[in-house]
Symmetry: C3
Subunit: 247 residues, 3 copies
């Protein structure tokens, strides 16, 4: 069984973080909250979302799994006005999800979970560098890099104790340096990897400007981006595989 | 003759209600105000607009009829800044409408009224159910229904004393129930009819969110939607023919 | 050498006035400020921009010339948040322009100035009529004229002491009259010329609504539009060649 009430904004923000990577996903209706893990079709970007029962006005579940069309569910959350609640109730028999917003009921057909790409195991990497930065600085870097290139290097300068972002275009270059003063926190270590800008742009769209984002980075290793949602009652982890260095 | 001054906002709002259905229309320049009746080319949706002389800053007319291109006239009203007045003056000789907004004069060529589709007779139906609802609730229902279907059922549950909206899609359904508490007023009666969502979406665009909309409804009968404009000095009535029930 | 710091807004506004006419331009890095002169490929519209050293937070230059892609430089200025400064520094050796906004560095490849269309000599015409008007009145006239025609007549009625704008379409006409009361200043003289609306629309986009615009006008002569930018520390002059009268 599953019966929960949550603010439309909390639901929307949480779903958006998954929706930037995949169109359909499995939602684990655990006793202590929702959990979603998904990987994009090219196996390059992964997301792990946890939304604990405390993020909800009320929450009851007993461990089932449902498959949903994410953009549908995001549209439903988007119909609510600011401050409105969404009531979600699973009808086990018909395999439909009843959603209610102040008298308006939307009955969402579920997708057979077995038809959805398998949930990835997000590897527990021990990455040598750890940077904590505001979401808006990621946005600045990604926006600027997008003007010149389709890939982006993230790295740490151990000597100068700086986190840097590099994008090299055919004619123009973009370079961002953030030192301890600009960052919330920094643990230096050998780190420099190249990433596809398309994926980072998608992930960036899901990162609130005022979020504290923990970046874990290594040398030619995947990057992990971690931030809280739902006032600390939820957490999102993105993982992005590196591109082969072009030179 | 016709010589009138009206706020750009009043003129714009009034014309928009007709403009959602037709591109050209006849305007009756009656002594006591403007009147427009029009029907869309498929004879499915009708509109009846009355804008009394009290809605104008000044108004003089003697009963003529002019044919206008509505989007042109809406564009003219749209050029005004908030609070500006539009001066409309008919030149009988040249058959042009002179419009002036603070020194800017736009001379609009009129259309031969005989070349415009005939004005419909809006039937005086005696519909058994009457619902009074806020414009924003119509907007919610239409927006949600549009996510799943291209038609929509409006009806009244006489037992539960509820007005309901139903849209059934291939996989998902939308259902809105409004009881006496949610409605401004309700007179129950046997009522359930199916309508094209395209037309209701167009009509909805012309309904202010804070308008009190009177809905008159029957069983497999047209629906009438009635609301005031121009602070009560104008009135719009839409009528929409039902679709054949699909099942 | 060239090393300057300027508010992103001042830089953006100044560049926009040139960017509406050409994609690439030469920038003269004079000791007392920047100067740009450019003419569009059809030799119909010209612009002369001067931005004095006082418009900058700091400014050092020794008379060189660089060639830039304007939309690139406008995009860079556009990346800044309100109130942020842009640091511009020329690397003579690599012929690149280093731009920095709060830790973010964008390295812009320059264009060989010899490959850019030659700077025009803006003729020193002695035009008989001089009108001073608010930028927003030019916007009103251009917006309205655009609804009916692709050309526009500007003129002065010497008897009525009025500045007027005329646009004649196939069916509709637009006419704007501004007398001494509506204008900031007026020196009458014989003036009536026809212009391409496309060019005036582009120039209008670069004119702030609250700018005082000096219009110099004659009979079948080019029009000059002059206004200040950067709080008086910069000046833009547009010149537009007349069209042959169509009748």
């Amino acid at each position: 069984m599953f019966d929960a009430i949550v603010s439309a904004q909390t639901l929307g923000t949480a779903l958006d973080s998954v929706g930037v990577l995949v169109e359909e996903c499995k939602i684990n209706l655990n006793e202590d909250g929702l959990a979603i893990r998904a990987v994009d079709p090219a196996n390059v970007g992964m997301v792990d979302l946890e939304l604990s029962a405390e993020a909800f006005e009320s929450y009851e579940a007993d461990g089932g799994v449902i498959g949903v069309n994410l953009s549908r569910l995001e549209d439903i959350a988007g119909m609510a006005e600011s401050g409105q609640l969404v009531h979600l109730e699973l009808d086990e028999e018909t395999r439909k999800l009843h959603t209610r917003i102040d008298g308006l009921e939307y009955t969402l057909a579920l997708i057979d979970p077995d038809s959805i790409r398998q949930e990835p195991d997000i590897p527990d990497l021990d990455l040598p560098a750890r940077i904590v930065v505001e979401g808006r600085d990621i946005n600045r870097a990604v926006t600027a890099a997008d003007m010149v290139s389709d890939h982006i290097a993230l790295g740490v300068d151990e000597g100068d104790e700086q986190f840097y972002v590099d994008a090299e275009g055919d004619t123009d270059d973009v370079h961002l340096e953030l030192d301890r003063e600009d960052l919330i926190d920094l643990a230096v270590g050998p780190a420099h990897s190249l990433f596809s800008l398309d994926y980072l742009k998608d992930m960036n769209r899901a990162i609130p400007g005022d979020a504290e984002v923990v970046i874990e980075l290594g040398e030619e290793f995947p990057v992990k981006l971690h931030f809280d949602v739902a006032e600390g009652h939820g957490a999102v982890t993105f993982m992005l595989a590196p591109r082969i260095q072009s030179d």
